[in-house]
């Protein structure tokens, strides 16, 4: 019943080593096991008389949710026992440091905020795709692995769409950490993944300014304020915060969930591409909203009705990231038109879909160019102009569109890496020409064409086939291979 465990105690084959942490709800021990392939941590809840009922339930929630989750962004579940005598949970002990250590040093440089934020956003998106929502995101619940990857810990308040929500109350009351919790969560809604996007915004705010956006309210009335009162713009606190970062932070912190980024993946995307963030009113804002707007929000908040609960991953479908891969260096008009039409159809599926238009060009040496148009910058600009021109008929707002000129000798590898890093959901790319069957695949990987040597037609066809077939074979997501209809066919 919450009694401390001595070193050397054996429980179900786990040997207790030292106590690592003693928190309000649980005590953590480092444990060992003969067969273990990674370091282990045992969580023993404080149960028994005097402990609140919700701490028992939190422990039950964490067991269920953690056992259902997979991937590098959560601790691996090892074992759990759930009886009154000696309940415990054994999981992977994450090597790395708590994000709280960075928060203590805040304000941090924008690049560091973006890097850490993108890692956390990527971890959140991986969670949301598994139909789970963390609902207690804060710096102390994030571990950063030595490689920079973020791991979410402490799932005691989490929601998983596949399991009954044991923390759902008939009379909805807020549960979460006051400085970070989203407005709808204050009202008891526990099934919206965009609540995590809001908390991520609060974490970014803290890393960028050293302050939390709403202080640390302690009463329900002050907690509710965030439904209508927006935070002081980060740039008003720390002028060194760039406009694009303020835009991202305040976009996450929109009081109305539907005005936020639809997915954490889109936050990660913007943090990874600062130059492509469309800075709008949010990024330029110098002070909080005026009385009129606050009063309007206040009335809206009074009439708030919680929406029905779809599965968390359903949000990802409407906010997916689509990559259109174009060969600007050797454009075939019929092919690029066909790709645009295919992209149009994919975009029609979701209101918040983002389109990244990407081309890969051979690396340009930065030194050798004699004429200005040969320089790397000029090359990149030239291709960017072509991409922009291609996208114009789609009439997408700047917030949903970005252009990327990648330099690499292996186009397929560059596209695949881009898709992986940016959590792309769908790649649209030209199909290999019909008269070049899968031969291209055989010679696939490292066909390198010197930038100045124009490849022969047949070699060129083979190369084109190589890129799309390799992308289709190895992509981490759906790939659409586009082929223009042959004339007269």
């Amino acid at each position: 019943m919450g009694a401390l465990l001595d070193r050397g105690t054996e429980i179900d084959g786990f040997r207790v080593e030292e106590q690592v942490h003693a928190g309000g709800m649980a005590v953590l021990y480092r444990v060992t096991s003969p067969g273990a392939e990674f370091p282990l941590l045992m969580k023993v809840p404080r149960l028994g008389p005097g402990e609140p009922a919700s701490s028992v339930i939190s422990f039950e929630v964490e067991q269920t949710v953690l056992a259902a989750l997979k991937g590098p962004h959560v601790p691996r579940f090892v074992a759990a026992r759930d009886d009154a005598e000696r309940p415990f949970l054994v999981m992977e002990r994450i090597e790395g440091r708590s994000l709280a250590e960075w928060a203590e040093r805040a304000p941090l440089p924008p690049e560091e905020v973006a890097q850490l934020g993108a890692a956390v956003a990527t971890a959140l998106h991986a969670l949301h795709l598994q139909d789970a929502i963390h609902l207690d995101l804060k710096p102390s619940n994030v571990m950063i692995r030595p490689g920079g990857e973020a791991v979410l810990i402490d799932f005691g308040l989490a929601h998983h769409g596949h399991y009954p929500d044991l923390l759902a109350e008939e009379y909805r009351r807020p549960i979460g950490s006051a400085p970070y919790i989203a407005p709808e969560q204050v009202l008891g809604v526990r099934c919206d993944p965009r609540s995590d996007v809001f908390a991520l915004g609060a974490v970014l705010y803290e890393l960028a300014t050293g302050e939390t956006p709403f202080g640390s309210p302690t009463t329900p009335a002050t907690l509710r304020k965030r439904l209508w009162r927006d935070p002081v713009p980060p740039r008003a606190l720390v002028p060194a915060v760039p406009e694009w970062l303020q835009e991202v932070i305040l976009h996450c912190l929109e009081p109305d969930a539907s005005a936020r980024y639809p997915t954490a993946a889109q936050v990660a995307f913007d943090l990874a591409h600062p130059a492509d963030v469309a800075v709008g009113e949010r990024g330029l804002r110098r002070r909080r909203a005026g009385t009129g707007q606050v009063v309007r929000r206040w009335f809206k908040a009074i009439g708030f009705e919680p929406p029905p609960c779809p599965q968390p991953s359903a949000y990802a479908a409407g906010g997916s990231i689509v990559l259109a891969a174009l060969a600007t260096a050797r454009a075939d008009p019929a092919q690029t038109d066909a790709i645009r039409e295919a992209v149009r159809r994919v975009l029609a599926a979701g209101d918040h879909t983002r389109l990244a238009v990407v081309t890969v060009i051979p690396p340009t040496p930065d030194l050798g160019g004699t004429a200005p148009e040969d320089t790397a910058t000029a090359q990149r600009l030239k291709h960017r102009v072509l991409l922009r021109h291609w996208a114009e008929p789609l009439k997408l707002p700047g917030t949903q569109l970005s252009f990327h000129v990648l330099e690499a000798s292996d186009a397929a590898a560059a596209l695949l890496e881009y898709a992986r890093v940016n959590a792309v959901d769908h790649i649209v790319i030209g199909a290999p020409p019909r008269d070049v069957p899968l031969r291209g695949m055989l010679g696939a990987v490292a066909t390198r064409v010197a930038p100045d040597a124009a490849p022969e037609p047949l070699q060129l066809l083979r190369l084109l086939g190589t890129v799309s077939t390799k992308v289709a074979a190895e992509a981490p997501c759906t790939v659409t291979l586009v082929r223009p209809r042959a004339p007269g066919a």
């Binding site: 919700s54 339930i57 067991q63 769409g161 596949h162 009954p164 929500d165 044991l166």
Partner: protein, 247 residues
């Protein structure tokens, strides 16, 4: 041990066979049929033969309102289409089938588990458990940690949490949900023979008694044949059409 719970088979032999096959492949060794074995569908005799043979090897079988209507004419008022199907069903059953239906109890209690077609609170009233208040009444009357029911055709799991009233959860097919006995659970397992939630696949639930896990299953079955038999039998067209749409 794994226990398969089927409700509202409604004389749909194709759905019943598909669910039983699925359950056996998933390791089910025990079976419970929570009422409405007949009515609506075209195979009452064949379905009763299958269920009776399971009952002889220990399966739990309880009576539903359609089963009751077959053996006690005039006892309940039903809508016209259901009434017509009941009258037709009577003509297809022999004495042994009738006797089997007449022998079924309204409620069966096995340790911490209660099986009842509608509500454990006055089972003969055939109350629809469609909200937390009715779920609470059924759980209170049962006094056990687990209640398995049908009558309502859409699968749902009610559970008690911090709040006093139970909370309704829409299960995700195939997910094994932890159902420890520290709280109460009322599972409406969903209709095997006449799904109505827009999904044509047959419903049943699989309870793993050792691991305390409950999975709601959806099993695609040959509804085209089941619907064709209903039409061939001259039963109301609506009963065939709704199998094709799962409504």
């Amino acid at each position: 041990m794994k226990l398969a719970i089927l409700a509202d088979v409604h004389a749909n032999l194709e759905a019943l066979t598909a669910c039983l096959d699925h359950a056996r492949a998933a390791g089910a060794e025990a079976f419970a049929f929570v009422g409405d074995l007949v009515g609506y569908g075209a195979d009452p005799a064949a379905v009763l033969d299958v269920v009776r043979s399971h009952a002889e090897s220990g399966a739990v079988v309880v009576r539903g309102n359609h089963d009751a209507a077959v053996v006690s004419p005039g006892a309940e008022t039903m809508h016209r289409v259901a009434e017509e199907a009941i009258a037709w069903t009577r003509t297809r059953l022999d004495e042994r089938h009738q006797a089997f239906l007449a022998s079924l109890p309204l409620l069966v209690r096995r340790g911490d588990l209660v099986f009842v077609h509608a509500s454990a609170d006055r089972p003969a009233d055939w109350t629809y458990v469609t909200d937390p208040l009715h779920a609470a009444a059924s759980l209170r009357a049962a006094g056990t940690h687990y209640v398995f029911s049908g009558h309502v055709h859409e699968p749902v799991l009610y559970y008690t949490a911090l709040a006093e009233r139970p909370i309704a959860f829409q299960p995700v097919p195939g997910v094994a949900i932890p159902v420890p006995p520290r709280r109460q659970w009322l599972a409406i397992v969903g209709s095997c023979g006449q799904p109505r939630d827009g999904n044509t696949a047959a419903c049943y639930a699989l309870l793993d008694l050792e691991r305390e896990r409950l999975a709601f299953q959806r099993v695609p079955y040959d509804w085209a044949t089941a619907a064709a038999k209903i039409r061939a039998a001259g039963l109301p067209e609506r009963l065939a059409a709704r199998l094709e749409r799962g409504e």
